[in-house]
């Protein structure tokens, strides 16, 4: 059911929208919560009717009703002003969401409001602005905690990004808990930020860093992982969703195996938290990290979730203001978590912006976001795999194997950077090329780089169609030059 023509209406030219009941019929996965959001939007949009849109190809609706006009992508797109621009003379198609997501107006406004109305340092002043900033900052912490279903807000530590969160665990927990011969197990498919800190810590502590390979299906081999676990294993570091393979790992199972041998687990949830429901209590993970900028929040802030009892036993990562109880000339006593790990003035406005992003995502509903991305992701996979000479990495989707909404790929005899450059320059399509901070994985696959198109819920079927058409044109262009 693949169409090659692009007749999807552009946003702003929204097809006459059906009444809510039929939207619900076409989108059976709409949650009650997100319904309010949709209802609000439809009220405004029923007025905008475009002739061209109304006569759009019926295949669009017939193929997969969840991707037609009125899809989550169509409905949420206007919230992202950055998407409504032209790049190099073409309408922007942004498909580099695994690198960073775009920000809805609500987040931009929250940042602006903070700087305009109550910018002040947190936890330090008794004046009104400081109290307000502190309240909002701490409220953002609560929002993150609720979002990942942590027990308490103090289990959330704000960091600069996920990388810093991983380093925090490595330097604080790792250096004080790992001994010579202890094993850290991870996979060859990790992002560099989940490999390099452990190389450094393993070198310092003489612990052993072990890597789990891929299966033939190009998924991290959880069977091998299970066999590698032993009493020597002290830590398992693993991604939830791969930023290159699009594989989704059964973390709840994996974590229970690790706990069986007494190991702690750090989950790199950078590519899962923005796209699906992630529940730290269900997973029973010890640590989990995420980055705000990948989940519609501002850059400059990320978070570490850690179980209270583990965090309480960890020494500080950085020294400075905010993280101390008392400072004497010869020693200091440390504040309780989370302050212990938040030395210096944090990214206050950005954390508040992250809170606004979470409000926005929650209003839509993470399950709905996930369901829509699964549909759009399959559509991307199907269309891309039908382009000749394209090799997509990672597992083939099936009834049992679900892929995240991204595809890393190569085209025979055309360098991915050349593809990405041409797509950008000639078609305004933004994709990533390179090793995606996963060099060991690329080496394992026998390649030095790949291209990657990654989706978010504000992408539409039209974006995918335009990407595929542009890719075909790009391949023709380079082939004609040979």
């Amino acid at each position: 059911m693949i169409t090659t023509t692009t007749t999807t209406p552009l946003e702003g030219a929204v097809r006459k929208l059906p009444c809510l009941r039929s939207v619900a019929r076409r989108n059976p996965n709409l949650t009650y919560r997100s319904f309010g959001l949709l209802r609000r939007r439809y009220k405004f949009r029923q007025l905008h009717v475009s002739a061209s849109a109304a006569s759009s190809s019926p295949s669009l609706v017939d193929d997969n009703p969840k991707l037609g006009p009125g899809s989550l992508g169509h409905v949420t797109r206007p919230d992202f002003p950055i998407l409504l621009q032209e790049i190099n003379g073409s309408k922007l198609v942004y498909l580099d969401n695994a690198a960073t997501s775009q920000k809805p107006t609500a987040v931009i406004k929250a940042l602006q409001n903070y700087y305009e109305a109550y910018n002040s340092n947190v936890h330090r002043g008794i004046h009104y602005l400081s109290a307000k900033a502190t309240d909002e900052y701490e409220s953002a912490r609560k929002k993150v905690a609720n979002f990942v279903n942590a027990d308490q807000a103090r289990e959330i530590i704000f960091t600069r990004n996920a990388t810093e969160a991983i380093n925090l665990v490595a330097y604080s927990w790792g250096l004080s808990n790992l001994n010579p011969g202890d094993e850290i197990i991870t996979t060859i498919a990790e992002h560099h930020s989940a490999i390099v800190p452990w190389q450094i810590v393993a070198q310092k502590t003489r612990a052993v860093l072990r890597f789990v390979n891929l299966t033939e299906d190009e998924v991290p081999d959880v069977g091998q992982l299970r066999d590698s676990l032993s009493r020597r294993t002290k830590l398992l570091v693993m991604h939830h969703v791969s930023n290159m393979l699009a594989s989704v790992l059964p973390m709840d199972e994996v974590i229970s195996w690790a706990h069986d041998v007494g190991a702690k687990v750090l989950v790199d949830a950078c590519q899962s938290v923005p796209h699906m429901v992630v529940d730290v209590k269900n997973l029973a993970t010890d640590f989990l990290v995420g980055s705000s900028h990948k989940m519609c929040g501002p850059t400059g802030v990320g978070f570490l979730y850690g179980k209270t009892e583990i965090l309480c036993g960890m020494p500080p990562f950085l020294g400075g203001g905010e993280m101390i109880a008392d400072v004497y000339l010869d020693h200091s006593t440390y504040a309780e978590p989370p302050s212990r790990f938040e030395a210096g003035t944090p990214a206050i406005g950005e954390a508040i912006g992250l809170g606004a992003a979470i409000d926005y995502l929650t209003e839509i509903g993470m399950q709905q976001i996930h369901d829509y991305e699964m549909e759009l992701g399959s559509y991307l996979y199907d269309r891309l795999s039908s382009v000749s000479d394209v090799r997509i990495y990672g597992p083939s989707p099936s009834r049992t194997v679900k892929r995240a909404a991204l595809c890393s790929f190569n085209v025979k005899d055309v360098h991915p950077t050349d593809i990405a450059t041409f797509l950008d320059q000639q078609h305004g399509v933004a994709i990533r090329s390179g090793h995606h901070c996963a060099q060991p994985l690329h080496r394992h696959l026998g390649i030095s780089s790949s291209a990657r198109a990654s989706l978010h819920f504000y992408n539409t079927k039209d974006d995918v169609d335009r990407f595929i058409d542009a890719l075909k044109d790009t391949i023709n262009f380079f082939t004609s030059f040979k």
Binding site: G89, D418, A420, Q425, Q426, H427, S448, T474, F481
Partner: protein, 266 residues
């Protein structure tokens, strides 16, 4: 949506002309490239009609004026890098300016890409045995291999290749500018000088994927290494001459045998 097939010819072809004296009012706007008065060069932007017979693949034409002909430049050339006589007479600084002008004149991105692909096609390939990790230019999203040596006259010789065609095009431009140049000239080029030639990157982009930047820096670093190596070799030569003829004086680049002696003693 654009299509590579319905690409339009560019409206602003370039005319390059050489004039033997100072700037001439008939060439406008002008860029004075060489400082030496004997070979004053003016480049002017003059709309001329492309001639598909002469260059079908590339829409830009460098046509010379009658004065140019008098100076012995070939009358028409599609691409500045293929103008052999220009190659000989231009300094590194001039070549950078010429290329900047050439790429700035290509307002359509696809034309810049096409131009780079053409330059990629004229870059001699590096033999497979030289594509080793030790020759890699690090920090690019593509693989670039670079061999650098200093010839007997002290000029720098480069061989470069990439697995990406666009990158190879960048490298081809860098080769045209820098291959055979004096080390000092090579070290004087900055990444900003190359900004106008960028494709797919912001003008002053100092991104970690900026291939220009990384390849240029690599060329410069390895040029520095060659300079150091040559200095060491020359010092050793002096040392040898000191050992063989302990009372010999000067002759080396330092011009002072005793200095070499004392340096060796440190």
């Amino acid at each position: 949506m654009h299509s590579s097939s319905n690409f339009k010819h560019l409206s602003l072809p370039l005319t390059i002309s050489c004039v033997p004296t100072k700037s001439s009012p008939q060439f406008n706007p002008k860029i004075h490239l060489l400082k030496k008065p004997s070979s004053f060069l003016t480049i002017s932007l003059t709309p001329t009609k492309p001639n598909p017979q002469i260059c079908s693949k590339n829409p830009i034409f460098f046509s010379s004026s009658s004065r140019t002909k008098r100076l012995g430049l070939s009358s028409i050339s599609c691409l500045i890098m293929e103008e052999a006589s220009l190659d000989e007479r231009l300094s590194v600084v001039d070549k950078v300016k010429c290329l900047s002008l050439e790429f700035r004149s290509l307002s359509e991105p696809i034309d810049r890409v096409k131009r780079l692909l053409h330059y990629a096609s004229i870059l001699p390939p590096l033999c497979e045995s030289a594509k080793v990790q030790g020759n890699r230019v690090l920090g690019c999203t593509t693989q670039v291999w670079l061999e650098v040596r200093m010839d007997s006259r002290g000029s720098m010789k480069f061989t470069v290749d990439s697995d990406s065609e666009i990158t190879k095009g960048f490298c081809s431009c860098l080769m045209w500018v820098l291959d055979g140049a004096e080390p000092e000239e090579i070290l004087s080029v900055t990444a900003e000088d190359l900004a106008d030639m960028n494709v797919g990157l912001p003008k002053k982009g100092r991104s970690r994927v900026n291939t220009w930047h990384n390849v240029l820096f690599s060329m410069q670093n390895r040029t520095q290494d060659c300079i150091q190596e040559r200095k060491r070799a020359l010092s050793l030569d002096d040392l040898h001459s000191l050992v063989i003829r302990p009372h010999a004086h000067s002759g080396g680049p330092s011009g002072d045998g005793s200095y070499v002696e004392s340096e060796v003693g440190v």
